[in-house]
Symmetry: C2
Subunit: 249 residues, 2 copies
């Protein structure tokens, strides 16, 4: 199973338009430091599962019929924007699995086009090609699911957007012992408790609690990138995802 | 005053994802035949007015502070998608004039960021830098305005998305006699009356009724592009806009 990070940024992305902080300036000089809409691609035995659809180049990136399914964590615009182009395609329909959000986003449910929305229930497992996918409730301003995804005796947990984790999700992950955890870590350490997203302290606490062999931090904002320029150290087994990073599990 | 067409396609754009009709195949071979989200840029004396914001490369295309204002015809996603990136910028706010749509699109009103939404009233004129802008009601599935825009003794009418025109808008345009009309022409000639967008017959009827020296057809879908491959003739004074076309008025 291979995981390719298509985007590791928060909704503002890096560089932030009109921002000239060190992180944003660096990202303009070195594009590989840029961060697009938080999303990833899972591939196994030629089957491809897109995790979130916030990038706006999905039609250009994925030939028609090359995506087995799309798995959405939630319906915030930075995770679904690319669907507004993809839906107008012709030919084979694309299954889009997502939390049972009654609204969806703008008119996606009203005009799904070739998208075939299928709601998921927490802790219910589903087979998608070679993948077994289990939805895990998260804590966010919109109904959000993380996912435990297993294939070929390996598994990863994709946990964004969230601030902390519900107890039963954390219990489940501690029992399942995924090989890799990809975790929302949007903000640098902050005094008051952040809303909707983990700051670095919370993310490191959760990483230690799940205790997977590797934890990759994603959904990173420009403030955290700047913080890391001065404080690059991270505990063993924890590192920062970046756009274009590929992990073979 | 200069008008640059940034996009001349309908919501599906050309080529349509997964479509292999002649028009879509041609557009893949010759990118200049492609059609992006229907939008345009008006420039006069260094002042720049963006007409609709459906392209998703606005942050890359327009340096911070280089847009005087944005003028929206309506809040359909193919006319506002780029705002979901632009809003998260830092620094100078950007005025966004639009019809007084109570919903807006998704959470744009709730989280406007640096965007400053200002509602417009029909037939009320407004000064924006060197431009005088008058809102003209259109006929569409969402509250939509076309605009008569005058500067340096020249004027153009930008009329999309619409099917037909309200009588008082047509009267107003016949009295104002714009030098250029840019008109929604989405579909090839069709037997039954199209909904929400002009077909070629309606667009040509309206072009003749307004009788401007030049009428450019925009918001074109792949079916109409294919129709034009076999029926390229158009009346004098009417031609087809394309992405990248520049008109100096
Ligand atoms: Mn997000
Ligand atoms: Mn979110
Ligand atoms: Mn449109
Ligand atoms: Mn429309
Ligand atoms: Zn910055
Ligand atoms: Zn086509």
């Amino acid at each position: 199973m291979r995981l390719d990070f298509l985007g590791t940024g928060d909704a503002r992305r890096v560089p932030v338009y009109g921002c000239f902080c060190r992180a944003c300036r660096l990202a303009r000089e070195q594009p590989e430091r840029g961060r697009q809409a938080c999303s990833a691609l899972l591939s196994c035995k030629g089957w491809r599962l897109l995790l979130d659809a916030g990038r706006t180049d999905l039609c250009e990136r994925f030939a028609p019929g090359s995506l087995g399914a799309i798995l959405l964590t939630h319906f915030h615009m930075d995770h679904v924007m690319g669907l507004f182009h993809l839906r107008w395609g012709e030919g084979q329909s694309i299954p889009v699995y997502a939390p049972a959000d009654p609204q969806g986003c703008d008119d996606l449910y009203k005009h799904p086009g070739i998208l075939d929305f299928r709601p998921l229930q927490p802790f219910v497992s589903l087979t998608l090609g070679p993948f077994t996918v289990t939805s895990l409730p998260l804590i966010h301003s919109r109904l959000s699911h993380g996912y435990l995804i297993a294939a070929a005796h390996r598994s990863l947990a994709y946990l964004t957007d969230t601030v902390g984790l519900p107890v039963d999700t954390l219990d489940y992950l501690q029992r399942q012992r995924p090989d890799l955890v990809v975790l929302d870590c949007s903000k640098p350490p902050s005094a008051e408790a952040p809303r909707n997203h983990n700051d670095l302290n919370q993310a490191l606490y959760l990483a230690a609690a799940i205790a997977a062999p590797l934890c990759l931090l994603t959904h990173v904002d420009h403030d955290l990138d700047e913080y890391w320029l001065d404080h690059p150290e991270l505990p063993a087994g924890v590192s920062v995802a970046r756009d274009g990073l590929s992990i073979d599990l």
